[in-house]
Subunit: 384 residues, 4 copies
């Protein structure tokens, strides 16, 4: 019996992306590989909405490496940072940054709330932050911040705006040209390739800031890496560390399929899928962690009081759908998460809602089976 | 957006089966390959319920090759044959056999009906047939014949009983020891490997009959092939034609996963899946081609009168589910078919029913959306 | 330790060909598959040098199926056939044809000799053959017949010229427009895809002949299959038997890479490789089975008297090179065979010659180690 | 035409390792994945000769991440470090460490020389180093240091001995129980899996030291990662960053095949291969960078004076063998490198030597073609 992976990364990958992983590894300095890397980098810029004068990178590592890269290269020991925290990965941002500077302020809306862009503007007016970090979609809560509005609110500031796009880029509307200086993601979520790559873009202001910073780290030092990617963009090989040849090829296959679908259509598909899932969960009578600003890539959902998480997840898996538990301390066993990004469509949505319904019912929840499915079906009509 | 393949073969294959296809081809006479082939042949015998003294084969070709093999090796120019015809592949059986003998009688219950075993017994009492062929499940109609009862009804006869198990073996209860002399299938259906292999078993009476027959064909001449498979079962290499090394490896992976699941549990899963689909279709108000004897591997379903097949299939595909049209002349555009075999489970069932509901609705059918899903959900409960 | 496969099929396949095997199976009637099939069929025509008005086929089966296809569709019970026999597959041709007609003459030059085209002309002048079959390169002997000259010698005859190109098409110069009516090969040799596909082309005269023949076989009946491929060439799906979707995709990848290399360059590469191997074997002092007309795809080589075949092959395999034994009855343990086709180049040639040298030495043969390698190296210079 | 990758990583990987890369990504917290990870971690310990009380890790990243991990977790701002520098990666070690402490002494034998263990002992007697780093085999020079003797010379010291085993572990004799505290490698070299994983082991003394250090970095902070791997070793899932599921599966396949070959036999194979290559290069008349202590995994070889590197490499590639240029500043265009690790055997050695001979000849070097091959052939005899 087949199972589908509906956790917030890794997700279900396309067959040709997976098949390309098994093509024999070629030399990382060969013309063939440089062309693959160049193509991947160009598509990364495209998907991030990166300005012409920005530089992208694709480095072996998890999303946390990309997070480290996105701050370690831009911070001095006394830099002032504002962290907008809407979940577990906001906590991680603050913890990670604390390795580099202790001047950290945290703006933390209540659980389930997105930050009010005005609050970010206010904070930035009171202190001259070197860096302001925002998690676009926090994987742990499914809360989506309004990056466009935040960027707009910070238009006149010198602060660099760093966006964690791990759970958004490729699935949510996103455009660095809104005023984002540094953004990053990883391969295994909405970009549709297996885990293992830290991916990001540094804009012009970020590149300038880098020149005045001596990073304390080494593996995440962009001064070592960016020349390699600059070369690749120009079609030339250069070396710092051996790249993940097979995975970059797989990423390139996926990015090309994203380009072929078209960003607008892809974002729209994620919206409809997100709506369908929310509509179903709502009909079933489940409460979500986000109060109003919902991600289209991940949903965090409270369990009915009497339902035990592990039993719920096991039952869902017996129904063929692998879901994830919570990640917010204190309530991690009180809610579950559904990842719905990448090549997701009706098959995954309907199987998921049905598995949720079945598992709830089998765990004693009083729900009207089928009602969620019907709502999802209705919402998915917009796909055609 | 991912699509799932719910046609009656090829179907969705497991990831490790597919991945094994890309292992570099090894020599067909190497010890490693002989062990793979030996393992596959043993599992074929197991899954067919083949008696100890029978011989299995795995030959490059489609199911039609297996059909030719199963008659050409056992017929003389004047042999008498009874063909039990319950659909397109019954027609094919008769047409194919007519190349070898003209003494063919056809027992054809009305559309949607399985043959009455008593009718087979009666026919066999009136004429001394050399061969009686039955299609276990006709892929075109989803009608399932009762092989056990038929075999029992023929217990005292000299006729060889040949069973086309293409759409059944690995998904329906089947046991050559019921009294089946010759049986066959192909790789791409309930055995769970990509298309390209004709697979079958010849029992003792079949092997004896072969000695008195000079086949007119060559590629399908088992006297050429069986020594190769006999050798492989004994761990020795021998040659007639180059085997499909990669596909036999993939088949071996799939057969081992079938063995691991256990035949009883697997058949039960197919029953529950079949029930769920029928229950859903019934609730939606759709009529099936079979009147009473339903296959658990494929369903053939009439479209509501005003719904056009091609539009219906397109819409279903936009919902992520690839279905098949009809195959019975005269009504081929009046019904559609769902393949539900192999590693099929709730994910595929629910996605399929939902796609059917949506597509019907979008094509003007008056159906209560969600009702089918609810019925399927209910029936799938038995899986856990 | 890696081993390379230097037997006359299967051979070493390109990494992207193998990787493509694991892409999930798609519907055989989908637009995507029809495009892959169309592309493969067009490239088959290109590589065979097939005239515009000919029809190609790609059917699940081994080379022997293609052989049956190439005669069974064109013979009546009293047809007269001339078989040019230059080895094991000449024997097989005669045996196979004897299932369809008993009017068979065999033209069999001495072991190691190619047929003299004049002898074919003479034979064809004395009897009005319906079919004349020639094995381009007999895999068992490495003897290559001169198809161009034979076709020219038969220019005015009504006999259909059928060429077994299993061990030649894609590696040897070949062009149906020389006057070949029917030609075939299989996937696993010089076309560079795993085994499992019977591939061929029928020219206009063959298509006309078919209309006057009722084939006795069914699976190999082109009247059933050709409409499917004709449709595919026109971009439309149609059905007879389920095609080997994954393998046809792999074949398509390989054929495109052949097209990219260019037939002229590819044939030249096989010539240089063939020369290098022969030059090495000659320097080592080994005698080949062919007296003068050598294939560039396979070499059949006598072992020194005191060397035992199985020990020789084992030792070669310990040196990383898998070779094949003989196939001609009576002398099958007295010679070995090297397959050198597909993507073969210096790596394979040098490793092979070295393995041959080492294995001979370790088995007591008095040879000057290194001499063969030096000769091969010299000959391979022409590749650059 | 196939090419083989004979650079010092990535190398040629086994077909089943590559094929396993395309198995669909499973949840990183699933039982199935935890078992794969557990198995890989156990085999890492085995191959490193890691003591029972040590802890292994497998983290997405290149070898440079493993290098950072191996120092950043054990250094304070004022720690004293001795770097044994025998090439490019010795330079990198010093540069990387300088991010964490400025108290660095470098012991740098002349180019091509291994360090004298007595010199390490002397240095360690004069200053109480917190950390002493040694590159086992420097990929840039092919110089191999004698880790066993160095460890023995440091037996009584408190200094932690850190070994960069990137170009050795899995191919050279290595055993942490000699007295190595911290060791690391990456996936793409002698461990036989595609690039993308930083792999290492921390022994008891290292684990104790960690408790007294606050790392400045975050992604390379073992206090975050080790609990995850400790859990996995105990069969439980836990999370810090999303692991490279597909690549860890591939690594696991490769490590099991290493275990099956047996470490002793594997090391012996690398010795014979190394000998064969050196013997060939010596016969050809080429000078190597190492003066006496040669690695069995990589060879760095001076080009004859008149031969231009890029032309040499191109020609070698036309002969089917991809080689690497130099990496030591000042002489990087004066020498080339051959990687010979992993599943390397006669096929790769002979093809490589022949490509070197041919390319040298075509580039005007006066060498006796074939002499190198003969020498290699002779040396490879010991494999059987």
């Amino acid at each position: 019996m087949k199972k589908i992976l509906m956790i917030p990364g890794p997700v279900e990958y396309d067959g040709d992306v997976l098949a390309s992983m098994s093509i024999p590894t070629i030399s990382h300095t060969s013309r063939e590989f440089i062309e693959i890397l160049q193509d991947a980098l160009r598509n990364v810029k495209l998907i991030f909405g990166a300005p012409e004068d920005s530089l992208p990178y694709i480095i072996s590592g998890s999303g946390t490496l990309a997070m480290e890269i996105s701050v370690a290269n831009f911070l001095k020991r006394d830099s002032k940072v504002l962290v907008v925290n809407t979940g577990y990965f906001g906590d991680r941002f603050a913890e990670l940054i604390s390795r580099f500077t202790k001047n950290i302020d945290v703006l933390k809306p209540g659980l389930g709330l997105a930050v009010d862009p005005e609050d970010v503007r206010d904070a930035a007016s009171k202190k001259d932050y070197d860096l302001i970090t925002v998690t676009h979609v926090d994987t742990s809560t499914g809360v989506r911040n309004d990056i466009k509005a935040i960027a707009s609110a910070l238009k006149d500031k010198n602060s660099l705006l760093v966006v964690d796009g791990v759970c958004s880029v490729g699935g949510e509307s996103f455009d660095m040209k809104w005023g984002v200086d540094i953004a990053f993601t990883s391969s295994q979520k909405a970009l549709g390739a297996p885990p293992g790559l830290a991916i990001g873009v540094v804009g012009k202001r970020g590149l300038e800031r880098m020149e005045r910073v001596d990073p304390l780290t080494y593996y995440s030092d962009l001064r070592k890496w960016l020349p390699v990617f600059k070369s690749a963009l120009e079609g030339r090989a250069s070396y710092f560390g051996t790249p993940n040849v097979n995975l970059i090829r797989a990423l390139s296959v996926s990015l090309n399929s994203i380009k072929k679908e078209g960003m607008e259509k892809r974002i729209r598909r994620h919206e409809i899928v997100g709506d369908a899932i929310r509509s179903a969960l709502n009909t079933i009578g489940l409460e979500m962690i986000p109060k109003s600003s919902y991600a289209n890539t991940v949903s965090a959902v409270y369990l009915p009081k009497n339902v035990e998480l592990q039993k719920f997840l096991s039952q869902a898996e017996e129904n063929g759908v692998v879901l994830a538990g919570g990640l917010i301390e204190g309530i991690s066993s009180k809610y579950f998460r559904i990842g719905h990004m990448g090549s997701v469509g009706p098959v995954e949505v309907l199987a998921t809602i049905s598995a949720v319904e079945n598992s709830l019912k089998n765990n004693g929840a009083r729900i009207e089976a089928g009602s969620g499915i019907a709502a999802a079906q209705q919402a998915l009509q917009k796909l055609s």
